[in-house]
């Protein structure tokens, strides 16, 4: 196990914000967004939770992942991310006391989503800690972008408010149901593809939507 770890490649890390967005391009963490992200506050809370889970787990994986036996690693990552729910809970409590009540089980499910369990053992273990940290931050930012846009759109159309402040009449209450979450995410992904087509140079290889794991 003397292979050299991947060096930091800023361009690749930054790609996780948009070109390889974890939700819209890679197709991960869809369920939690579709069902749990029904307003802006929920989106923010999910983003904070995701940040607190993904960054430590990826750093953990890159620092001591290789030292554990292979079969124990997913378990360890799951346990670490479960522990990281604690700080996430207290940070989210600062902007809304009942936020975790209103979201039910969905923030907890982020702890066993694909990035902490699979991505960490497939990629992060081979990267040096700085790369892993950078990748984690960019993944969390990409997730947060999607979650906040989706949450804002659903809150605005569903109940006519933003961050709990009423600004318009409720137009289309059903957008808070999970199936509208799926459909809206699908359209957001299509728009992301459209923007990518518009600004991408032809020589770059397409990021591809088939890399779900």
């Amino acid at each position: 196990m003397t292979e050299t770890k991947e060096k930091l490649n800023l361009k690749e890390s930054l790609a996780y914000i948009f070109f390889r967005n974890p939700v819209l391009v890679l197709g991960l963490v869809i369920g939690q967004l579709a069902a749990g992200d029904t307003n802006l506050q929920n989106g923010a809370a999910l983003s904070v939770t995701y940040f607190f889970i993904v960054v430590p787990v990826l750093v953990f994986a890159s620092v001591i992942g290789k030292k554990l036996p292979e079969w124990l690693r997913p378990m360890c990552y799951a346990l670490v991310s479960a522990v990281m729910l604690i700080p996430a809970y207290f940070v989210c409590g600062t902007f809304s006391a009942t936020i975790y009540d209103s979201m039910g089980i969905y923030p907890a499910l982020l702890a066993v989503s694909t990035v902490p369990i699979v991505y960490s053992s497939k990629f992060a273990e081979k990267q040096n800690p700085v790369t892993a940290l950078m990748n984690g931050v960019c993944l969390a930012i990409g997730f947060a972008l999607t979650a906040i846009i989706l949450g804002a759109a659903r809150e605005f159309f569903g109940s006519g408010s933003l961050w709990g402040i009423k600004i318009a009449e409720a137009a289309f209450p059903a957008v808070k149901l999970p199936f509208w979450g799926f459909i809206l995410l699908g359209f957001m992904a299509a728009i992301a593809n459209l923007i990518k087509d518009l600004i991408k140079k032809p020589e770059e290889a397409p990021a591809g939507g088939e890399e779900k794991a």
């Binding site: 289309f172 209450p173 059903a174 149901l177 459909i183 699908g186 299509a190």
Partner: protein, 424 residues
């Protein structure tokens, strides 16, 4: 030659009829329904229909502009726009119609590739989505024979439909004849049973739709309703109330038969019709919603090619039963002969799992055992393992111990390699 052939989903063009004439037939058959609802509810129904057509057409144009495709003159969005208002009460606000049309065109049709590619019935999905969103608006119906204001607030008296009282287990307080003529409250276009049946017969005669799926659907639903009636009274009354309430008849002729999403073969259509009938029955009896038909139709659209495939399989067996039986017998005989041959040769075969360690141990064991026969060589007949190690079956490695039997094995191997070459 093959390059000239293009894959295209139904509707297919045949003889003097074309897709366009089929679509015009459907439009023509929908007009009497609109006239009847004009008679019962006043001019608002016509304005609703106009609104539906315009918004569907505009949305499909919008879709083709965003996707930078050349807009094709196409009647199907207009038909969707005509069908959607007919499923709703006559005093429905206009924005509900526009929302339903937006969902039907922008979510169901455009992303999947437009006409001929939609996997779900657009009208059913549009209706189901607005019904989930505004159930109190979609499922309370105005009483008939009262003209409704075209614009502004409607002041008409609203009641629940017979389908709702059936779901509660009560006998609807309308005569069967009322329901036949359409004076019972209900969706704008789905109450005039006689007119609907006449339109359906017109479509069938014009061959715009196939008779198999509506008939099988209604028959299977009727059988289920008579077997498990929800209300007391005679079976005939129960049957009439069940069939004439909601949008079953309308859906059977205008939505179930949509050429793109229904199966292509008659036998498949029959199976799909029966399955839809069962699904509608279950959704109506156990679901908490009145829109059993739309949900059941969406669910059945998922499986419609499956019905085609199943029917293909059944028909294949039926048509070629003689030759299949013959080939089966021949195969059996061949196997018996092979067995006899093998038994005569009496090979000693050892089966070793692909597990590496076991393989190594077994190899050592074998070589120990084979020490007296020095000339022998072991050939591994091993397939290249797949990258993901997907296949769950064990790949067995067969080795021959005695030199005489090698011929059989080699011949088998040769055959295999020849086949592979042929494939390549």
């Amino acid at each position: 030659m093959k390059e000239n052939l293009m894959f295209q989903n139904a509707p297919h063009v045949r003889q003097s009829e074309s897709v366009v004439t089929m679509m015009w037939d459907v439009v023509l058959a929908l007009l009497p329904v609109y006239l009847m609802s004009f008679f019962y509810h006043g001019p608002r129904s016509l304005v609703l229909g106009f609104c539906g057509v315009v918004s569907c057409t505009v949305f499909s144009l919008f879709g083709s502009i965003v996707l930078r495709e050349k807009p094709v003159p196409d009647l199907t969005p207009a038909i969707t726009g005509l069908i959607i208002p007919l499923l709703m009460p006559a005093d429905i606000p206009y924005f509900v119609i526009i929302a339903a049309c937006a969902v039907a065109i922008l979510v169901v049709k455009v992303p999947f590739g437009g006409t001929g590619n939609n996997l779900f019935n657009p009208a059913a999905v549009g209706f189901a989505s607005v019904a989930i969103c505004w159930p109190e608006k979609v499922f309370s119906y105005p009483v008939t024979m009262q003209s409704i204001e075209v614009f502004g607030e409607t002041t008409v008296q609203k009641v629940q439909s017979p389908a709702y009282s059936l779901a509660l287990g009560a006998v609807p307080d309308y005569e069967v004849l009322d329901m036949l003529l359409g004076s019972a409250p209900g969706p704008m276009g789905a109450t005039n049973i006689l007119v609907l049946v006449a339109c359906g017969i017109f479509l069938i005669v014009r061959k715009a739709v196939n008779w198999v799926s509506p008939v099988s659907f209604l028959a299977s639903y009727a059988v289920l309703c008579v077997s498990f009636p929800r209300i007391g009274g005679s079976a005939f009354d129960a049957l009439c109330y069940e069939l004439f309430s909601g949008m079953l008849i309308f859906g059977a002729f205008f939505m179930l038969t949509e050429p793109v999403t229904s199966p292509k073969r008659d036998f498949g259509k029959l199976m799909a019709g029966v399955a839809t009938g069962v699904a509608v029955f279950l959704f109506r009896y156990f679901g908490e919603f009145e829109m059993g038909f739309a949900s059941a139709l969406i669910l059945m659209n998922v499986f419609s090619p499956l019905f085609d495939e199943a029917c293909e399989g059944v028909l294949h067996v039926y048509r070629h039963r003689d030759s299949l039986i013959r080939s089966f017998k021949a195969e059996n005989q061949r196997r018996k002969a092979e067995k006899a041959e093998k038994a005569a040769a009496e090979p000693v075969v050892r089966v070793i799992k692909k597990n590496e360690q076991a393989e190594k141990a077994a190899a050592e064991e074998l070589s120990d055992a084979a020490l007296p026969n020095d000339s022998e060589s072991f050939e591994k007949q091993e397939e290249v393992p797949e990258e993901n190690a997907v296949s769950a079956e064990d790949e067995d490695i067969v080795r021959q111990e005695e030199p005489e039997t090698e011929e059989i094995d080699l011949s088998a191997e040769n055959e295999k390699s020849e086949e592979e070459e042929a494939v390549q």
